[in-house]
């Protein structure tokens, strides 16, 4: 549905995206993970053509590219971007904003009330935005995206400033939108939350995708345990060669290649070092994040 082909973007001498290629399909939620300033927003801006890449192109439905303003208009009819809460119009109401987005993209405002009810915005949606708290503004930004009902949605920092119950509410809605065959990109710092609804999470580093984590199909399970560095040093020589010690505190032993008795033995051995929690399962977004971005800290 959306293909990025050899995208490169540089600001002066700094390469932000470097020959990045990627394909996304309808009915997918794709998490985009990277520390601040490493190209997440740039990637979104390229996808929406707010930034023209130095090289490469964005292809929508295998044949539409941003080759002219007319072509951009066609793609934009099917793609919406998450507004920044500081850019909202203070003098307009939340309802005005939602109606604006509904009529611009879906050409209708009939569905707005359902969104308001779902996101529990009835109490304040008719008040001017200048009276909103950060959380209310963020919920409004998400509601505006839902109002567009476009087939592609780019959501940068969608969960910023939201409390736990609202994060859960929005996560549930994202899953519902995925079932409606929408392609949704979500950049978020709530890494564990991404695991709930994302089909894939891509990790950006040095301008390219350093890792793509898939949550469906074959996944490799690990014994995961938090241990101190000095304890790890004591154990190090006994551990299998393909183990990982992520960010100086998470020890991960792959179960692949071990038989049941070996797995049991390692679990028993490691329980002696267990201070917090020993878990078995695939590496999550948090572990990969720590692996790729905190390893050297």
């Amino acid at each position: 549905m959306l293909e990025l082909k050899k995208i490169s973007v540089a600001y002066k001498d700094k390469k932000v995206l470097d020959n990045l290629s990627f394909t996304a399909h309808e009915g997918e939620i794709i998490g985009v993970v990277a520390p601040n300033g490493t190209g997440k927003t740039t990637l979104f801006n390229v996808m929406a053509n707010f930034i023209k890449p130095k090289t490469g192109e964005v292809i929508y439905k295998e044949r539409h590219t941003y080759k002219s303003e007319r072509a951009e208009l066609f793609i934009h009819k099917n793609l919406s971007t998450f507004p920044d809460q500081s850019d909202l119009f203070d003098e307009l109401t939340g309802m005005d904003h939602m109606k604006l987005y509904g009529s611009m993209w879906k050409k209708s405002t009939k569905h707005i009330q359902e969104i308001v009810d779902y996101l529990q915005m009835n109490d304040y949606v008719k008040r001017k935005v200048r009276t909103y708290s950060l959380g209310m503004r963020q919920r409004l930004c998400f509601a505006m995206m839902v109002a567009t009902d476009t087939s592609i949605m780019l959501m940068d920092e969608v969960m910023n400033g939201l409390d736990v119950s609202n994060v859960a509410l929005i996560s549930k809605r994202l899953i519902q939108m995925k079932e409606e065959k929408k392609l949704i990109f979500v950049a978020s710092h709530l890494l564990e939350n991404l695991d709930l609804y994302a089909d894939r999470v891509i990790f950006l580093k040095d301008g390219n995708i350093i890792h793509e984590q898939r949550f469906h199909g074959e996944t490799e399970d690990y014994i995961k345990l938090e241990i101190e560095h000095d304890q790890y040093e004591k154990l190090k020589n006994m551990l299998p060669a393909n183990h990982m010690y992520i960010a100086n505190h998470i020890l991960c032993l792959p179960l692949k290649g071990m038989n049941i008795s070996e797995q049991t033995k390692w679990i028993e051995n490691l329980l002696d070092f267990n201070e917090k929690e020993l878990t078995i399962g695939p590496l999550g977004t948090v572990e990969y994040y720590e692996k790729y971005y905190l390893e050297n800290e």
């Binding site: 930034i51 023209k52 890449p53 920044d84 909202l88 119009f89 003098e91 611009m104 050409k107």
Partner: protein, 381 residues
Amino acid sequence: MFWKYVLFESKLLIRNRKLWFLGLIIILFFPIYFLYYSQSDPESLEDQKKYEAGIISSIFNQFPEDQRDTSEGNEVYDLISEQSSLVNMQVYYLSQGKNTEAYIESGLRVNELRLEVHELGNKGIPDHLVMPKEEILKEDALLTYIQKHDIPLQPDTIVASNYLIVALNTFSGILFFIYVLISGSEILLYEQRHRTVVNGFPLSFNTKIHSKIMIHFLHTIIFLLIGLLVGGLYAAKEAGFGDFTYPVLIYQNGSYEAISTLSYLLHTLLAIAVITLMALYLSILLNMIFNNAYANVLIGLGIFLIPHLLVNIRVDSQLFHPLTYIDFANVLSGDLSVKLENAQIDYWHAIFWLVILILLILTIITVVNRFIYFKRKEANE
């Protein structure tokens, strides 16, 4: 889509305090200016005629004796003598307050004689006492109109019908142009403060700017009409409605023509509408190029002043003449035609060139937009 975006822009405009303030200025301008105008003491027709009689008397006093010995000089002297008699008769008719027909006949005859004197080269008449040909033609057109429509000679200058012409002429030109430039100073710029909300709208640039222009245009025209209505009603309450069929002179097709007050006001409103569109399209262009609200006003004003500066330093500025048509009260009166020594400059000529200017600005906007679109490399973060 266009109308939905127009609706959104209208909501923003309704909540824009700057535009409300500007609208209030227009509304208040007309009644407040009436307070000033009604205090003025306009010269009566009788005073004007007495002044003319005085001028003719000065011509007699300063007429060189030796000129009377030549046949042409003698002819000029006789023509001036006849003018003197007729103008004094006009003063008499006015003092009597009746016999309009005789006043007009005398006036038309005086104008004929003055034109004859012009044909004879105004021999023996000091330059400062020569009545310009344009003035003679204006008065001739006015008297002919009054005779044809059988209307009173002297309108009350303070009444609403006359006041609205004076007020509109005062407000038009540079004052109105600055007003629209201020009103449109952020026509595109405000979007920068809401970039992520409006950036991805599935709207073409043209749809966007035309809806903005439409909203700002309606804002200006509606407030102007309200201002005129308020000012007109106030003037009418204080001094009466006056006569909207009374003639006003305009310069047309190389000569002067009298049209009714109502027709003059409609001509003026059409010109204001065209100038408003031009100033708004210019604001869009300046917003795109300079990204600065102050630059919009200062550079817009600078562009308007270019031809005036060039005229003052005696540089041939014919290319820039259309910019001076913004001051359309001078176009209507024919003063601009005289100043720029271009007999073609009349109302429809000015409207035609202002429309050409709008199309030219639109073309530049399209080119600049294409340039920005294709040069949008790494500029947005």
